[in-house]
């Protein structure tokens, strides 16, 4: 049985529909009009225990609203959601005990108190034993340098420190299902690397992870599956490997030639490849269909006939694919 199952999950908000300006505000007092706005539109989502799922989409797509529906913060307008067999909204407290949530834009820390006090309060809330608490704090310190700012008041923390502390708050009770909404905001590259390694280990130990992030390196390094949401509906749901295989069909060779590159002449000589000028006069890029031509064949023919000074191989990144998915240029 999946650990999380959402069927036709929908959330509609009612927004005031009023004209701008003073007149609009006064008119709205007397004549209230509202418009319905559907933030999440009939989503079907199933996650098995131990999966690591990336949940991505452009700004305003409905990612955070979906996470709020799955965690029980919001009540669905239509549809159902079950997490570990429970309705997260009506069985909120029971569900909350088994999940960890991190919202990158909202802190869990008590603003006027030292970080340590916040963690101790969470320890009481979740019923974490003293031994487990100490062990996990030591682990977070090793990973996130937590002890560096444990005595500091939450409101004095930098963004990166706050994110690290919030991550510890979300995981202090070793939850089975973890929702991380933008967990690497404000973290430097070395901490990001350590965090990603930690999350991979978490998943290997059986924790189920739903991660939203605009940093696609987070997704590539941590998640096996990606769900793309756009305008409240799922645009893609499958493994990251399959996404790349399905949409990344070309590769490019970047060549540095001895003299100036004549792009039209190269296009005539090698009509199977798409040619484009590089940044410098002697640079040129040849793009080919990876299904039609092997890399060895392409490199072999180009080096033999052009004798480049230097060359490098690249393929579109997952960012390019996601960008094109957001733009609606790719279909499922």
């Amino acid at each position: 049985m999946p650990i999380l199952e959402a069927r036709s999950l929908t959330k509609t908000f009612r927004r005031p529909d009023k004209a701008s300006g003073f007149k609009g505000a006064v008119k709205h007092l007397a004549q209230r009009k509202y418009k319905n706005y559907t933030a999440v539109d009939g989503i079907d989502l199933s996650i098995e225990a131990g999966e690591s799922v990336a949940y991505v989409g452009p700004n305003g797509a409905g990612k955070s609203t979906t996470v709020k529906l799955l965690t029980g913060i919001l009540k669905p307008s239509e549809g159902t959601v079950r997490v570990m067999g429970r309705d997260p909204h009506t069985e909120r407290i029971a569900n909350a005990h088994d999940i960890g949530v991190l919202f990158g834009q909202r802190t869990q820390l008590w603003w006027d108190l030292p970080v340590e006090e916040s963690l101790k309060l969470l320890k009481h809330m979740y019923g974490v034993s003293e031994a487990d608490y100490k062990r996990r704090i030591a682990m977070f310190d090793d990973l996130l340098d937590l002890n560096e700012f444990m005595p500091a008041l939450a409101r004095t923390l930098s963004l990166g420190q706050r994110m690290r502390a919030d991550l510890a708050c979300a995981l202090i009770h070793d939850p089975k299902m973890v929702y991380l909404d933008e967990p690497t905001i404000g973290l430097d590259i070395s901490v990001k690397d350590r965090l990603r390694a930690f999350l991979r280990e978490l998943v290997n130990d059986g924790t189920t992870l739903l991660l939203t992030s605009h940093d696609l390196a987070d997704i590539e390094e941590v998640c096996e599956r990606i769900v793309v949401i756009d305008k409240g509906a799922i645009a893609y749901d499958g493994s990251i490997t399959k996404l790349k295989a399905h949409y990344i069909t070309t590769k490019s060779v970047h060549l540095h030639l001895e003299g100036a590159a004549d792009v039209p002449a190269l296009a005539e000589k090698f009509p199977d490849y798409a040619w484009a000028a590089g940044q410098a006069a002697s640079e040129v890029v040849a793009t080919y269909e990876s299904a039609r031509h092997s890399t060895a064949e392409v490199l072999g023919s180009l080096t033999a006939q052009l004798s480049p000074r230097d060359l490098s191989l690249s393929e579109p990144s997952i960012e390019d694919v996601i960008r094109r998915l957001y733009a609606g240029e790719l279909t499922k």
Binding site: K75, F103, H124, M125, E182
Partner: protein, 265 residues
């Protein structure tokens, strides 16, 4: 795991510490509260003189004003804005992902923050006692029952505050609700002026509400305006309001939580 007393204690302690983290604010509250009591004492001393008004002579009015100072300090010392802000700025989203009963957690926080006013109360009462030498309770039993009434003020204040804050789920604003609540509380509790000074129809309205139990009830017991049976009746009414407001809060929250609209990430 259920929400146990260790969690309540933790929330209350955090709220208590949070209030005392702002020492200047605490000192200002002491000065303002004490100052207001001194002004009231001076005013009533002139009004009453050596006579009495509506059954209050200078002796009983001194005691009444000190009781009013205690209840006002405690009741208005609670951190209601902290709870309202969490609803209005969307931080309630975080609270709803925690395995704690929302109302019970807020009650523990509120009572913890009210407890932070106890040092102010002690200093104020000791100062008032030294300056004005008010009479003691009419009997040891009255003293004990007054203390019981004071203790019940904590959950009663929470009940009223919590219900008013929940209105934010619909109105998205708190200031007006707070003003209305404090006006009603200040007027109908007897903090501003003893209910005995009001016409009887207004007193009837007051006694149909929970507010008189903040000042009038403990003062009536302390000053012997009611006998022991009457005191027990008042305390029972105070307790009934406390219980009723608690369950009223749970009912309203069940509907309010469906109105959560936390936008923006």
């Amino acid at each position: 795991m259920t929400h146990g007393f260790a969690v309540d204690r933790a929330f209350a302690t955090v709220a208590f510490k949070r209030r005392l983290a702002y020492k200047t604010q605490w000192l200002v509250a002491l000065v303002l509260g004490g100052g207001a009591m001194l002004v009231s004492m001076a005013m009533w001393s002139n009004l009453i003189g050596s006579g009495s008004l509506s059954g209050y002579d200078w002796d009983s009015m001194r005691a009444y004003l000190i009781i009013g100072f205690v209840t006002a300090t405690v009741v208005f010392g609670g951190a209601d804005w902290h709870i309202a802000d969490r609803i209005l700025d969307g931080h309630i989203a975080i609270d709803l992902t925690k395995p704690v009963d929302f109302q019970r957690a807020r009650a523990a926080e509120y009572i913890g923050s009210m407890a932070s006013t106890v040092p102010t109360v002690v200093i104020g009462v000791v100062g008032a006692w030294l300056l004005f030498d008010p009479p003691g309770p009419v009997s040891p039993t009255a003293g004990l029952l007054t203390a019981v009434s004071f203790v019940l003020i904590f959950p009663l204040a929470f009940g009223i505050m919590y219900l008013s804050v929940l209105v934010c789920f619909w109105t998205k604003r708190y200031l007006g609700i707070m003003w209305l609540r404090e006006a009603l509380l200040g007027f109908f509790s007897g903090m501003m002026i003893p209910l005995a000074f009001m016409p009887s129809w207004l007193q009837s309205i007051a006694w149909a509400l929970p507010f008189p139990h903040f000042t009038t009830t403990p003062a009536a017991i302390y000053l012997g305006r009611v006998d022991t049976a009457g005191a027990l009746g008042l305390i029972a009414a105070e307790a009934a309001w406390t219980v009723g407001l608690w369950f009223g809060g749970r009912f309203v929250f069940r509907h309010a939580v469906k109105k959560v609209t936390v936008h923006g990430g």
